[in-house]
């Protein structure tokens, strides 16, 4: 079986999208890895919906300050210019379009960019947290996830079967097999993991993929 990218490598590829000066929210789970992978020479401002903008790299667990955490409960480090605010202002920033980019995990993304990332069968009490506001309000929405479930089922689907976070909100999908743009024409396969062909990626994807003319291997 061919190797798929590990989570750290997906995070490295996602972080290449971070442009100088951006305000960026990293969603719960895997996206948090991106905090330590900002491309050399760029400055970005990480937003935590719990009320912080401009935190630094992830901190050491052993010296955890429980009053300086990101929204995934991970300790983070202070940076010059960092600021704190309450939850209402934090979501004004999000809904009002003052945050440039959010990286969210997902259970499913549809061919029209619908996102399902909070509810799954058997867990009716798990909540959406800030995901719905982030997906509805941030200028750009990136999804970072594994291409398939543990059982091999497709996560990039024609239509989401899990409850939605927001409709038609995802701009780009980064997985352990591919980079895909969500466009009005459909899903465009832009990059594939080294050693993988477009046909192989399509066979693991339920939604139809349009192969980009300039399809290339994922580079870091």
């Amino acid at each position: 079986m061919k190797a798929r990218l590990d989570e750290q490598t997906i995070a490295l590829r996602v972080a290449k999208e971070f442009e100088d000066g951006m305000g960026i929210n990293l969603g719960y789970g895997m996206p948090g890895l991106c905090a330590n992978l900002i491309p050399e020479g760029r400055t970005v401002y990480f937003h935590g919906e719990n009320g912080v903008l401009g935190y630094g790299a992830l901190g050491e667990d052993k010296q955890k300050d429980y009053e300086l955490i990101n929204a995934s409960d991970q300790p983070v480090t202070p940076m010059p210019g960092m600021c704190f605010f309450d939850s209402a202002m934090s979501f004004d920033m999000i809904r009002g379009g003052h945050i440039d980019l959010v990286v969210l995990g997902a259970y499913q993304v549809s061919q029209t960019g619908d996102l399902a990332n909070w509810g799954r069968p058997g867990r009716p009490a798990t909540g959406m947290g800030g995901g719905m506001d982030l997906a509805a309000g941030c200028k750009s929405v990136i999804v970072m996830m594994l291409h398939n479930t543990k059982d091999g089922a497709a996560r990039i689907v024609k239509q989401c079967s899990f409850p939605l976070t927001a409709k038609n909100c995802v701009d780009k999908i980064f997985t352990n097999l591919a980079v895909i743009d969500v466009t009005p024409k459909g899903l465009i396969l832009k990059e594939v993991a080294p050693g993988w062909t477009a046909e192989e990626v399509q066979s693991l994807t339920e939604a139809p993929l349009i192969i980009a003319d300039d399809l290339k291997e994922i580079e870091l």
Binding site: Y28, G29, G48, E49, N50, G51, V52, K64, D65, Y66, E67, L68, I69, N70, A71, D73, F84, F85, D86, S87, A88, S90, F91, I94, R95, D114, W118, G119, R120, G122, R123, P124, A125, T126, G127, M128, G129, G130, G131, M132, D133, A136, G137, P163, L164, T165, A166, K167, N168
Partner: protein, 237 residues
């Protein structure tokens, strides 16, 4: 404005919370920002049929050990004796945790009702309640299960949902410092839901690390002005 707001214990500060009360509990979810001593006092006090409004439903002492060595008490302490009738919040249970938190267990057994609210909508519903507003239109939740039963309106070509205000009988919140008047400052990400909840309840009870005299807090940095605060308890952490 009541003059003596300083209480000597959390037990005294929560003594008059009544059965059926609606209670906001500040914090984001985990240890930082959570009014833990007040929650423990409320669990001891035993008021029942409570409606709890909070961002997270609490993971309970056992699962909290995954977040902080040794664990800590959170809203989970209130479910043990069946004190909670309904929970309103954005993360009743965490998807990344095993399905064994007190609220998730009781919800499965049909013993706790849950109203799921997106986090930004929750903050804004509380702010609307605090500010005497009748509600607001938000794009959050359009096209999702959250829109069910809500008025939809197109404003400037975009769809919005009407969301209604939230208020409470009591708010239990955590701040870093208070002066004896009730002016509050917070520390780091422990601010979160505390300032908005402080404004939205008939009686706001705050647990602080340190109590100081009026004049000792810089007026330029006070986040919660004293009319919003009813009772103060100093609990050094």
């Amino acid at each position: 404005m009541a003059m003596n707001k300083v209480f000597s214990s959390c037990d005294d500060a929560v003594a008059d919370i009544f059965d059926g009360a609606v209670i906001m509990i500040g914090g984001f979810g985990s240890y930082g920002g959570l009014p833990i001593s007040l929650i423990v006092a409320l669990a001891k006090q035993g008021a029942r049929n409570l409606t709890i409004i909070a961002n997270q439903g609490g993971v309970g002492l056992e699962l909290s050990k995954k977040i902080k060595p040794g664990g800590y008490q959170d809203i989970g302490a209130l479910y043990a004796k069946g004190q909670v009738k309904k929970f309103i919040g954005s993360v009743p249970a965490l998807g990344g945790m095993p399905p064994t938190s007190p609220i998730e267990t009781l919800h499965r057994e049909g013993k706790v009702e849950i109203e799921m609210v997106p986090q930004g909508t929750l903050a804004e519903r509380i702010r609307a309640g605090a500010g005497g507003l009748g509600g607001f239109y938000t794009p959050t939740g359009v096209g999702t299960p959250v829109e069910i039963g809500k008025e939809k309106k197109v404003i400037n070509g975009k769809e919005y949902l009407l969301e209604l205000p939230l208020t409470a009988d009591f708010a239990l919140i955590k701040a870093h410092k208070a002066d004896t008047l009730g002016n509050l400052v917070y520390r780091g990400t422990a601010r979160c839901f505390n300032p908005v909840m402080a404004m939205a309840a008939k009686t706001t009870i705050v647990e602080v690390d340190e109590l100081v005299q009026p004049g000792e807090l810089d007026p330029e940095v006070i986040v919660t002005p004293h009319p919003f605060v009813s009772r103060i308890v100093e609990v050094p952490r």
